[in-house]
């Protein structure tokens, strides 16, 4: 049985907690021991947020520490680079190509600087907003990223595992958009 640690990094309001709980439920359905750590509260107001997901046999605490993550799913560039120390040397990063400068901050690294930081590890860059819009709504950015995360094959999950879950959670249009976003995100890495 594999044992994995994932960090989902981004900004409050980007739907990180949904990604964490969907992945967690899908893994639980596969009988893994799952732990998802979240920080709520202030972080809902545009602050820096990280969700930790661990699964496998034995003890799984709700915190991922330095050099432990197999995968970082980043929804914003600065926040992704901020969590780099958590990544294993041979871990992977899937990142949304989106830079949101914190309001009223003086020195903001450029997109190029951030991307070159990420290029030091195995990383995939996704234009999640464009794909989400293609699927039907900008709100589906998190589903695009979830699809991209699956395509790395680092987690013991595949598209149908998530589709099962989504069809229990959503209906109608929302379900359709989410499914499409998931698929587009998946394909963006596959190619």
């Amino acid at each position: 049985m594999s044992r994995r640690s994932v960090v989902i990094a981004g900004v409050g309001g980007q739907g990180l907690i949904t990604i964490g709980s969907v992945l967690g439920e899908a893994l639980m359905a596969k009988n893994y021991n799952v732990s998802v750590g979240e920080i709520h509260g202030l972080s809902q107001r545009g602050g820096s947020v990280a969700v930790f997901l661990k699964y496998g046999e034995g003890a799984v605490s709700p915190v991922v520490t330095q050099g432990e993550a197999d995968l970082i799913v980043g929804l914003e560039l600065i926040e992704t680079v901020r969590r780099l120390p958590l990544l294993k040397r041979d871990g992977s990063v899937v990142v949304n190509d989106f830079l949101l400068p914190p309001p009223a901050s003086k020195s903001i690294p450029t997109r190029g600087e951030l991307l070159s930081n990420l290029s030091r590890v195995k990383s995939y860059v996704v234009d999640a907003r464009e794909l989400a819009l293609k699927a039907g709504s900008e709100i589906a950015v998190n589903m695009v990223m979830l699809g991209a995360a699956l395509a790395t094959k680092i987690l013991d999950l595949d598209i149908p595992d998530i589709e099962n879950l989504l069809s229990k959670r959503f209906k109608g249009d929302v379900l359709r958009v989410n499914m499409e976003a998931l698929r587009l995100g998946y394909q963006s890495i596959k190619e």
């Binding site: 998802v36 809902q44 605490s61 915190v63 050099g67 120390p85 040397r89």
Partner: protein
């Protein structure tokens, strides 16, 4: 309808948040009432119970504050029924007055008080360790280590509370309250007891002839409980050969397990779910090892108790704890690995890490795009400039506390619920500059009113700006006495802040639309002049529903959202909208030009009104 998260039959397995697991445990225990004031990280307990409360005949409410919530729980227990009361750690300070006496009286119906502590102060003003409250109040304290245990322990604590006729504190921490793991459900018990008032004046009256006897009684009870707890199934020992024992509790247990695994070490582990009183027999067993390593978050609560016991019993164990692990902030596996290695004299190296090679800006939380608090701050700042005053800005607990950060910096202090007015009163007594206190609507009801009455009664000039967005926004939109709705969204009488202020005797009371910067500015100028002349307090209610909530409502109803844009040719790049107003939807692009991120804009239109070049206008969007 999506099924309520904590609904389900015995044997069912769900991925639950620690808080939801506590809610499920209470449901399985057959509670009759659940009361709370929202506060991170405790909020989801009541939210989860509310989803099923009607089906099971449970009374549930958001109370005005934690003291009231606890008092209701005590009353319910007097009726022989089971009650859950939930709050964040600092909330227990508010409820501490009835709590301290509750330790003496004990209970009839099971009463579990959840204290959700926040090591690392992720969203709190301090890190206080409420296990110490239990010791102080003579109330037993229990701490679960996993989400499953959070459910099971909650369930059993109701039995224990009734068996010993003591209320208990269930202490959790952020990492448990907000982590998700699989939980196997047990049987749900419907509250079917008859409610009877247990008339027993001697038990319930905290009056001179009885108080000392009660104090003596509770000490005896605690001793008995300590014996009983040595066979409590949540206190476990994992024994291996060797002369080293690790004693731990709460979420730290998981870090210990992971650390031992990674260090490839085998040590005996004593996991204590009852942190006060200590299970005496188990504690002595742990102390029979040559070396005892105590791994706990925040204060050395277990360590102190073990050291006292070891001294009393003349046991020679070498006891380690806070000499190896930090007393500040949260623990994690790496800290535990480092500490254990030091205790055992093993070399330890942190795993290699990829360090960022660019400097990253901090990202403190911000007021949302479209938030009425921002425009209120902006208007107050302009008013102060026009009056040439440098107010002392007294701030309180809520989203608006974020006005502390640049560019606003309008929180000269921020303390605890209601303190902006209370502490402000002390400053206003002596300050030449005016005191402007900001307080949210929920906080006003929670603890602001007594201080406001004081301002009137003692004629203290002070401007109180109640930033009324109609909801307890910070914790995720729970209603309060001003909201006009209850815990289920059902209609309730709405108590008007302006009427409360007038009834308290405030003569200057005005209500302003928070988006209307000019109206707000003028009201502040009038108010400051008034308080200077009359020497009395003034109140302005700055009103606008929480932008986040309005946006969610619109999305749910499928309504379109207006958006604003910067007309590049008209923009003079003055920076007012981005540097001074600082709506997070407005950013500077690579070329230094100002632009609005369409996905973030909520269409409040305030930026358009403050732009001196009239360069911002509404755009048509169809979704």
């Amino acid at each position: 309808m999506v099924k309520a998260i904590i609904a389900g039959s015995a044997g069912e397995k769900k991925l639950l948040l620690g808080n939801e697991a506590i809610a499920r445990g209470a449901l399985e225990a057959g509670i009759s009432s659940a009361t709370a004031y929202p506060g991170t990280p405790s909020t989801e307990i009541i939210e989860a119970i509310a989803e099923v409360a009607r089906d099971y005949g449970i009374y549930v409410e958001w109370s005005t504050n934690e003291k009231v919530a606890l008092e209701i729980g005590i009353g319910v227990s007097m009726m022989g029924l089971r009650a859950l009361v939930a709050m964040k750690h600092v909330g227990l300070n508010v409820a501490s007055d009835p709590l301290m006496s509750l330790g003496y009286t004990g209970v009839i119906g099971g009463l579990v008080v959840v204290s959700a502590d926040d090591p690392n102060a992720h969203s709190s003003q301090n890190e206080q360790d409420n296990r110490i409250y239990g010791i102080h109040a003579n109330i037993p304290v229990f701490e679960p280590s996993t989400v499953q245990e959070a459910k099971d322990l909650t369930r059993e604590l109701f039995d224990l509370s009734e068996e010993f006729q003591m209320s208990v504190i269930l202490r959790t921490t952020t990492r448990l309250a907000h982590s998700r793991s699989q939980v196997v459900f047990g049987e749900v018990v419907r509250p079917n007891r008859e409610a009877v008032f247990h008339r027993d004046p001697e038990k319930w009256a905290l009056l001179p002839p009885y108080n000392l006897a009660k104090h003596r009684d509770v000490l005896v009870k605690l001793d008995k409980l300590s014996e009983h707890l040595s066979s409590f199934r949540f206190n476990t020992v994992e024994k291996v050969d060797g002369d080293v024992a690790v004693v731990t509790s709460g979420v730290a247990y998981n870090y210990v397990k992971e650390a031992l695994e990674e260090l490839d070490l085998a040590l005996s582990v004593f996991k204590l779910a009852s942190v006060y009183p200590l299970p005496r027999k188990l504690a002595l067993e742990a102390l029979s090892y040559g070396k005892v390593i105590v791994v706990e978050e925040l204060e050395p609560v277990l360590e102190w108790q073990l050291k006292v016991l070891a001294y009393e019993e003349g046991m020679k164990a070498e006891i380690h704890g806070k000499d190896l692990f930090p007393r500040v902030g949260e623990l994690n596996k790496e800290l535990v690995k480092a500490g254990l290695s030091r205790a055992l004299g093993i070399r330890y190296e942190a795993p290699p890490a990829v360090m960022p090679s660019v400097e990253l800006p901090r990202r403190p939380p911000v007021l949302c795009p479209g938030c009425g608090h921002r425009s209120t701050y902006y208007a107050v700042k302009i008013a102060a400039q026009r009056l040439r005053v440098k107010p002392v800005y007294a701030n309180d607990i809520g989203c608006y506390t974020l006005g502390f950060y640049p560019p606003y910096q309008m929180a000269d202090f921020t303390w605890s619920m209601g303190s902006s007015i209370g502490i402000g009163l002390g400053i206003a007594r002596f300050s030449k500059e005016p005191v402007v206190a900001f307080i949210g609507d929920s906080t006003f009801f929670h603890a602001g009113i007594p201080a406001l009455i004081n301002a009137v009664y003692n004629r203290t000039p002070m401007l109180v700006i109640v930033m009324d967005n109609g909801i307890t926004a910070m914790t995720g939109h729970q209603p309060h006495p001003g909201s006009g709705v209850g815990v289920f969204g059902e209609e309730k009488p709405a108590i008007r802040i302006e009427e409360v202020a007038r009834a308290a005797g405030v003569k200057f009371v005005e209500v302003v639309d928070a988006y209307d910067i000019i109206a707000m500015r003028d009201a502040v100028e009038r108010a400051i002049k008034y308080m200077r002349e009359a020497g009395e307090p003034a109140v302005i209610v700055s009103r606008r529903p929480c932008a986040l909530m309005v946006l969610r409502e619109k999305r749910r109803r499928g309504e379109s959202i207006k958006r604003y844009t910067v007309m590049k040719e008209k923009c003079i790049n003055c920076g007012i909208c981005v540097d001074r107003f600082a709506c997070p939807a407005i950013v500077r692009e690579g070329d230094g030009k100002v632009t609005i991120i369409p996905d973030l804009c909520t269409g409040c239109g305030v930026c358009a009104t403050i732009c001196p070049a009239k360069a911002i206008r509404e755009v048509e969007v169809d979704e």
